[in-house]
Symmetry: C2
Subunit: 280 residues, 2 copies
């Protein structure tokens, strides 16, 4: 039974999370994920494939059950052959929310890419089921995934290696642990290849809830740096030599915090309603 | 005798350098500094105050002499009392170029601030003498100096500590070692206080030659990240709590490399003339 939030005909939320989301205190991001994934009636599938720790999946299972969903199962895909497991596939087909853990995004793309599991995930999201990914899981959800890259604030030719991701949307590229690991340069490099895409630099404990209509709602303790190069006046990308810095003129950047939103269609950011401040 | 480039009535170049400028190979930044400082007729004053190494000043002296200037002297101001040294002051008064080394910018502001030396430097620059500063020296040259701050890509309330600098211009704030030390967040924080100012994030071995008319010419191997918040749609700075991320909507960023320029009046960036590429 789909949750009341799963509107017929509209796709589900796509929810990249910057990693290290709060698991001990108010757990706002994980709670909101459970809420949009059917709440008390929710059945949540956990994909721990990115991680090589046995504890990752079971830890999220406990968390989601504590946050009130009806059931949560760890679908422990460790190699491509696991993707044929009929029991897991049945749970995935009936899931009302899918959560992809952190680890290494290249494990996700190499183990799940081209399998029934990836195909079912795409179809379920198209049918209205929310899919969240944290850290490596966040990088994996879009069509174009940052596989790895250099750190540093300046875009450099060759600073980033891209690979095909899960493919839930081709409108954003995600980079995670953004504030913590100095990744503006590699995100700008990724965008410079094709300015159609919007860059989302996610701080830790911060999520982008991308709603079915294309509105991105920011939830969490950090910020999301939205990088929009669609109005670029000049890009030196095509002519740049490997390792050379890439000139880019006319980048638009928004630093968005909890309560802010960004619309992918109009490419406009909206601030949260202002609280009235006490004045001295 | 002022060099032919010292036009009457116009101030001299202001030249912040991102640190670690090339001293071994083509030395483009230092050579250009010597060229605009009178070339073969140049008399260059070196201020090593930021550094606690005895070798810093003499090293630059050798370099400048090798690059062809007529004379170069180290004015070794180590404490405020040194600022009364009449011989050094006489050399400074007659210098056709002034170079401030790296180290700790708070040594520059605390030792030189409010002295005759700072006053003479400002007057000489106003009269047409170029003043360059590398690393800490670059941070020191503007009116508003970044004293120190946190690293990270996201602006945070309290992420930066500002102090009054030498005061050659109030139109830019400079951050150095930009690509190498992850300083976008602290530069954005500095700008969020008052969006009038343009932020210059200087990579190592990269210089902003700020010409008398306000045109900035980029020289060097890295990039300058120009951050323009003058068209900001929203800033959460006034309401942000200490340590909290600051929402900023509508930041404009340009990544500029060697040959690019930026005009402080029109706030427009210009790409270098395109080379014709060989096609396959």
């Amino acid at each position: 039974m789909p949750s009341p939030e799963l509107l017929p005909g509209s796709r589900g939320y796509i929810i990249p999370i910057g990693g290290a989301e709060d698991k001990l205190h108010d757990r706002r991001i994980l709670q909101r994920f459970v809420d949009v994934s059917g709440g008390e009636a929710g059945r949540i599938a956990i994909i721990p494939t990115a991680s090589e720790l046995d504890s990752t999946g079971p830890r999220y299972r406990k968390l989601f059950l504590r946050l009130g969903c009806a059931s949560a199962e760890v679908l422990d895909y460790r190699e491509r052959a696991d993707c044929d497991n009929a029991e897991w596939l049945a749970f995935l087909q009936g899931a009302t929310g899918i959560f992809i853990t952190g680890g290494n995004q290249l494990r996700l793309s190499t183990i799940l890419g081209g399998t029934q599991v990836a195909s079912v995930m795409r179809k379920r999201n198209a049918a209205g089921v929310p899919i969240a990914g944290t850290s490596a899981g966040a990088a994996f959800v879009p069509e174009h995934m940052i596989a790895y890259g250099a750190s540093g604030a300046t875009p450099h030719a060759g600073a980033v290696s891209m690979a095909p991701g899960l493919g839930l949307t081709n409108r954003v590229v995600v980079d995670q642990h953004f504030r913590q690991r100095d990744r503006l340069g590699r995100l700008l490099t990724a965008l410079a290849y094709n300015p159609f895409v919007i860059g989302l630099g996610l701080d830790e404990d911060t999520a982008a809830f991308i709603a079915p209509g294309g509105k991105i709602e920011i939830v969490g303790a950090g910020a999301i740096t939205v990088v929009d190069v669609s109005d670029l006046d000049f890009s030196g990308m095509a002519a740049a030599k490997e390792g050379a810095p890439v000139p880019l003129i006319g980048v638009r950047v928004h630093v968005l915090t909890d309560g802010c939103s960004f619309d992918l269609d109009s490419r406009r950011a909206v601030a949260p309603p202002q609280r009235r401040l006490e004045e001295d």
